[in-house]
Amino acid sequence: MTNNLQIPFGMGLNVTSYINSPNPVYSVGGIIAFAIIVAIIISIFGYIFGWLERKMIAKVQHRHGPTYVGKFGILQNFADLVKLLAKEDIIPDSAERTLYIIGLPLLVSVSIFLVLLLPFAPSLQATNFAFGILIIFVILSFTPILLFITAFSTSNKFADISAQRSVLILLSYELPMILAVAAVGIAAHGYNIASIISAQSNGIFAIFMPLGLAVLFITMLAELERPPFDLREADSELIAGWLTDMSAPYYALSLFLDYSRMLLGSLLITILFFGGWEGPLLPPIVWLLAKASVISIFIIIIRATTVRMRIDSILKFGWKWLLPLSLINLVIAYIIFA
């Protein structure tokens, strides 16, 4: 893949070849350039989807959504961000101070780190592990633990309940999720991200394994804790769940966390089932982000329509439906591809 000289956005920059160059100066420079580009992608994606989510949900609810700040209210989220960051940061006396302060930034940095592990185009990727996709899913499954620690540090009962729920639903979706990924691994004969994408050049896996796509999409909703699995932030029950005792700057961080994780989830689904950056005419990064955006829009529409699932029904659903479906999908993948 390294000798592929496709140019992302006409920047005339092949970051991958810089990173892989033997000269340490070029290599470090390439990594920094990659990190900056990805940070820009995450910020722009997060910002646009933060706005789009408000607009789309407003549309479903026959409202206007943000309109005043900027054209179509595009700057509303920026205004909100300024407001949130300008507010006083109150740390409760009963909180575990160190964990309280580092918890959310740590979660955000983990999710950014996971995005950094992903390739955005042949010429825009930092890592190329043989088991790249598995590494990402392993680290992803640690985030509820981090979240538990963060919520626990606030020593608020609602945060505790929210964190317990968040870890408990891990039991229901983690196994089907990994099995859906394993089916892709069978189909692509490996877990290297670039080879998974190139294996789909003759036909995306979503056509061959619709069951796997369904399982991965549903479990990804649970992983991202988007509705109907938003038990972590069940506002009608737990006020604000794990964020109940956190003040405004942390809330701003949590929003950033949510949208960066939404980008991560959408990118993972795109790479595993929709052929990643494969597509005619347009540059690969445009294809990748366009596909990821469509998936994010689906995630948003689901939020606007459904009610919240109960914890026991999520567990039942996971073991009764998702696990058998993902096993069937594994068999289908084996029959078709092995």
Binding site: Q61, H62, P227, V307, D312
Partner: protein
């Protein structure tokens, strides 16, 4: 696992006002829940004793800010009964029309708040409020206010219906019929919604009777009681409608009873508008010295959107000597502890949603 005691409210997204609950939770199961009420207590029952009869309806309306006209009407009916005044026939029809419109508005708001309680992102809430707004437009035409009306007087109404009211109302009823279907399609085809509603918070026939719950909650448990039918008042016995009864007694049954009641109300409004007789509908002027009603006692029972409301009035010449209100929300709140015990924490809020509590009505 140890039992955790959590405090919910009085300021909480789903306590609909100022209800405070102290819940003991074992893991995710509710062991015990105690409602603490009184945050909205205004002493209305005592307050009305210091004022003339017709100075009181504004207080009555603030008891239940979701269906104010219904409460207004119960009080006026209690005064009328104490006075021994007969309501004019046209006024009876107008009251039935407006009360049924108020019932539709109240149930529409209930759909929204209930869906919020079980975790929807405000979609049904917004839809419900928008449709309720249309009903409020109609009530504004008839009574001049959107929230608080004060358009009942002894023996009749403050004003007659405006000339084009009938057309507007019939048009809205057609629209509302379509919308009710849409709500049902939207909610009942959602498996997650059905999962949250079906078999949750089951109140059996006997328990419903023993707890004394009223209104849709009672009828959802299979008890065929509706004050409009069983204690027939006004022209309800001349109009055709059926009491909505469901046997299951769970959240879904309570939801279905209310949805069907919207349909029945639409039917009632249509029929009452068609049958509306000509004549005078105005009540006695407020300043008229009312016939002395010393030591007259009246008890009236009315079916409000939330259940049966009974007012007991002892009249003392120009003022109530004593007014006692049996408010439906207060009675239904008593069932919360019984229903929520042993349920999941999330379902406790769903059950609270289907009980349709209004704190003004609970606290008085």
């Amino acid at each position: 696992m140890a039992v955790t005691r959590i405090n919910i409210g009085p300021v909480h997204p789903s306590t609909h006002g100022v209800l405070r609950l102290v819940a003991d939770i074992d893991g995710d199961t509710v062991v015990d829940v105690q409602p603490h009420i009184g945050f909205l207590h205004r002493g209305v029952e005592k307050l009305v004793e210091t004022r003339m009869f017709m100075q009181n309806p504004p207080y009555m309306e603030k008891l239940d800010y979701v269906s104010p006209m219904s409460y207004d009407e119960v009080y006026v009916a209690a005064v009328e009964a104490a006075m021994g005044v007969e309501v004019k026939e046209r006024a009876q029809y107008i009251r039935v029309i407006l009360l049924e419109l108020q019932r539709i508005a109240s149930h529409l708001l209930w759909i929204g708040t209930m869906c919020n309680d079980i975790g929807q992102m405000f979609t049904a809430f917004m839809w419900g409020f928008q449709d309720r707004d249309m009903v409020l437009n109609l009530l504004e035409e008839a009574a001049g206010g959107r929230m608080f009306y004060v358009n009942m007087r002894i023996g009749g109404m403050v004003r007659d219906l405006p000339p084009d009211f009938a057309d507007h109302a019939l048009g809205l009823m057609d629209y509302m019929e379509k919308r009710v279907k849409e709500y049902e399609r939207y909610l009942e085809r959602n498996p997650v919604f059905m999962e949250r509603m079906k078999g949750v918070g089951v109140l059996s026939y006997d328990d419903a009777k023993n707890l004394g719950v009223t209104g849709p909650v009672l009828r959802a448990s299979g008890v065929n009681f509706d004050a409009r039918k069983n204690k027939a008042y006004y022209v309800y016995q001349k109009l055709h409608f059926s009491t909505q009864v469901q046997m299951a007694g769970d959240n879904l049954a309570r939801y279905k009873v209310r949805m069907m009641e919207i349909r029945e109300s639409i039917r009632l409004v249509r029929e009452a508008i068609k049958a509306l007789p000509d004549g005078d509908a105005l009540g006695m002027p407020v300043k008229l010295i009312l016939p002395a009603a010393k030591n007259r006692i009246s008890i009236v029972s009315r079916e409000l959107p939330r259940g049966e409301c009974i007012m007991y009035l002892v009249a003392d010449a120009q003022k109530p000597y004593r007014l006692s209100i049996r408010s439906p929300s207060f009675i239904n709140l008593a069932a919360l502890n019984f229903l929520a015990k042993g349920q999941r924490t999330a379902d406790m809020f769903g059950i609270m949603g289907t009980l349709d509590l209004v704190m003004g009505c609970v606290d008085k």
